[in-house]
């Protein structure tokens, strides 16, 4: 098995120390850094797909994502040296709305977006509407993702859309909403740009939206 294949396997099974060591070895062997990153990106997306099919579970996906981060560290300087930037599909600010303390669903969406090529800023749970917007402005985000797990916290999603309108920023950000009680009809009612039923759906919805942007 070649170095790249071993590296991909280490990432896939979540062996972070081994992944970092193999990535260093790949660079020492003079491998093309872009080829290495492409291989890793493909591997981690496959892990995400397998999670959706419940062939692997969240702990395995988290360990694979951590191994991916460790593997990219020694490769990044070589990319920089060759003035190659990692492909980013877009920047997302994500969180669970104010008053809502649930976060695993939002965290899975954040993780899958990250492994699928998005730069993600996760604000955590119980986030005020204005804080979403301020952060999105600060990082020049393309997308604001707002999760709500309770019917009584869903108005927090509406508040984000309304504030964006009142601040004259509505067209600047794509607003996507989700969470167990959140439906496509609610997204339409509050004027969000899109709704996603689950994490992989969120990735495909945003991929399409970013292409059209």
């Amino acid at each position: 098995m070649g170095t790249l294949e071993s590296l991909v396997e280490a990432v896939t099974i979540g062996e972070d120390e081994e992944a970092e060591a193999l990535a260093r070895q790949a660079m020492a062997e003079g491998m093309d850094p872009l080829e290495v990153v492409d291989g890793l990106t493909h591997a981690i997306r496959e892990v995400g797909d397998r999670f959706e099919r419940m062939e692997v579970f969240l702990p395995e996906m988290m360990l694979a994502a951590k191994a991916m981060q460790r593997a990219v560290e020694p490769v990044a300087p070589y990319l920089e040296e060759r003035k190659i930037e990692r492909e980013r599909k877009g920047t997302v600010v994500i969180g669970t709305v104010e008053g809502d303390i649930h976060e695993i669903g939002k965290s899975i969406v954040a993780l899958l977006l990250e492994v699928n090529g998005y730069k993600v800023h996760d604000l955590g749970p119980d986030v005020n509407a204005l804080d979403f917007i301020k952060k999105a402005q600060e990082v020049e985000a393309d997308v604001i993702g707002a999760s709500a797990l309770m019917t009584t916290t869903m108005p927090g999603q509406q508040e984000i859309v309304e504030l964006l309108g009142e601040m004259g920023l509505r067209e600047q950000f794509h607003v996507i909403v989700g969470g167990t009680p959140v439906t496509a009809a609610w997204a339409e009612e509050i004027g969000a740009d899109s709704w996603a039923e689950n994490a992989m759906h969120a990735v495909s919805v945003l991929d399409k939206a970013m292409e059209e942007r």
Binding site: L63, G99, E103, I104, T151, T152, G156, T180
Partner: protein, 461 residues
């Protein structure tokens, strides 16, 4: 034996004085490796052929795994980034001090909520609950419909989304208004049906600690003979707002229920980890929530339901572990895939009640349509679960017999879980004026009940 609290202020203080740990490190470096370790050490193994396990050794191993896991991992406060830890001696003391039974509710409506054993001949205590939100105008008729159910030992009302026509937003004054309306209407419904002292669990509309505290009022709100719930954060985490509830419920004097739902496919991983975590949550309920009973709703990460084969095994195995090794009062909450007025939802309610009751749990039934859709719950789903639970104890059913029955019921719905029918809303299959089910739903109910009887389930009446 004294009831909780057990060393409440010493334990709450640990959220400020425990060892420092960041959120990600807690999950990645503490939770995940310890979970793998205990699953392997105690040989925990899910068997799809026996969703109701009859293996006492497995149940005891699961208990040991849950105890070791809980003591090693602890509970993280996400506000203070400190871990609340416990030693084995105090856990043993708290377990020893559990009374195992409480008189809940008031006057003629009071009932005994108690610990059950595996294959117990005692019928389960059944709390009826739609578990969903509903339109403001059908809140009262829906409560009346549930409270007039003869097998309801207790009741938890639906959640309001609006109060006085205003959209309720958590952590805002509208939440206080909605919580008050919820508590007052619930008491009104209980009085109307002639059960003024019935055991009530309230109020789901109060999402925040402030909302809960605002309705502690023996004149018009939640009384000390009623109960409140306190939950956790995913997984084995808590925050100050939840700890505020813990302290307030004890000081107010009502019964505390610990509300936890480990996620199959989440941080706990597969069925084995989900079951270990469910056992650990019983210990978190006892030590952190200072709870009088534990309410469990393990659910599937994609389907948000608990009636697939793996999740029924999780319920069965974890309840057996707790029933055999402690006096903790467990209540098993059904999350069903299908919606009301469908055959499937009644099969699912029956399956959940069967797996839970024979394994030593009481019942909390039920959340139809994946606990996702407004107005999609009726008392009929809860009634089916209650009747099956009573049949189970009436027959003194063994786990082996229950498993054989469960496999036949699973065969009737298992392949439809991913595209389960949404069914009807309450007002489509109930007469809102009389709070009675439609003739069509009543007929469907009787057909399914007769079918279950033909499979071998002997109903008391």
């Amino acid at each position: 034996m004294p009831a909780p609290p057990y060393k409440m202020w010493e334990i709450l203080e640990r959220a400020r004085t425990g060892p420092f740990c960041e959120d990600e490190a807690f999950t990645l470096e503490r939770f995940l490796p310890k979970m793998q370790e205990v699953i392997s050490k105690y040989g925990i193994k899910y068997d799809p052929a026996t969703p109701i396990t009859r293996d006492d050794n497995l149940a005891d191993a699961l208990w040991q795994a849950g105890v070791e896991f809980f003591l090693a991992v602890g509970v993280l406060s996400v506000d203070t980034h400190r871990i609340m830890t416990f030693d084995e001696a105090e856990l043993r003391e708290a377990l020893y001090l559990i009374p195992g039974e409480y008189l809940v509710g008031l006057g003629k409506d009071a009932r005994v909520l108690e610990h059950r054993q595996v294959e117990d001949g005692k019928p389960p205590f059944v709390i009826f609950s739609p578990d969903i939100s509903c339109d403001e105008e059908i809140f009262l008729p829906m409560c009346v419909a549930y409270l007039r159910e003869p097998l309801a030992d207790g009741f938890c009302a639906p959640i309001l989304e609006e109060s006085m026509g205003l959209k309720i937003k958590a952590k805002s004054p509208t939440e206080l208004a909605g919580s008050m309306e919820h508590a007052m209407s619930l008491r009104e419904a209980a009085k109307l049906v002639g059960r003024p002292g019935v055991f009530l669990v309230a109020a789901g509309t109060a999402e925040s600690d402030v909302g809960q505290i605002s309705i502690s009022n023996s004149q018009w709100g939640v009384r000390t003979s009623d109960s409140r719930l306190v939950g956790g954060l995913t997984e084995l985490k808590i925050d100050n707002a939840l700890l505020n509830r813990v302290a307030h419920y004890q000081q107010f004097g009502c019964f505390t229920g610990s509300l936890t739902g480990p996620i199959y496919g989440g941080y706990a991983g597969r069925a084995e980890g989900t079951a270990v975590l469910q056992v650990a949550y019983h210990l978190m309920g006892l030590m952190v929530h200072q709870a009088h009973y534990q309410m469990n709703f393990p659910f599937h990460i994609h389907h948000t339901s608990g009636t697939s084969r793996e999740l029924l095994w999780v319920s069965s195995a974890s309840h057996q572990a707790v029933a055999r090794n402690s006096k903790i009062i467990s209540v098993s909450n059904g999350f069903l895939n299908a919606g009301p007025a469908t055959e499937m939802v009644l099969y699912e309610a029956a399956a959940h009640a069967l797996a839970s009751t024979v394994s030593g749990a009481n019942l909390w039934e039920a959340a139809p349509a994946r606990n996702k859709h407004k107005n999609r719950a009726t008392p009929m789903e809860a009634r089916m679960a209650a009747e099956v639970g009573h049949a189970c104890s009436f027959m003194n059913l063994s786990r082996e017999e229950a498993n054989a029955l469960l496999l036949k019921i699973l065969a009737r719905y298992e392949d439809r879980i991913t595209d389960a029918p949404l069914g009807s809303e309450f007002q489509e299959c109930y007469d809102v004026r009389t709070s009675l089910p439609s003739p069509q739903y009543s007929d469907l109910y009787m057909r399914v009940k007769e079918e279950l009887a033909a499979l071998g389930l002997e109903f008391p009446y």
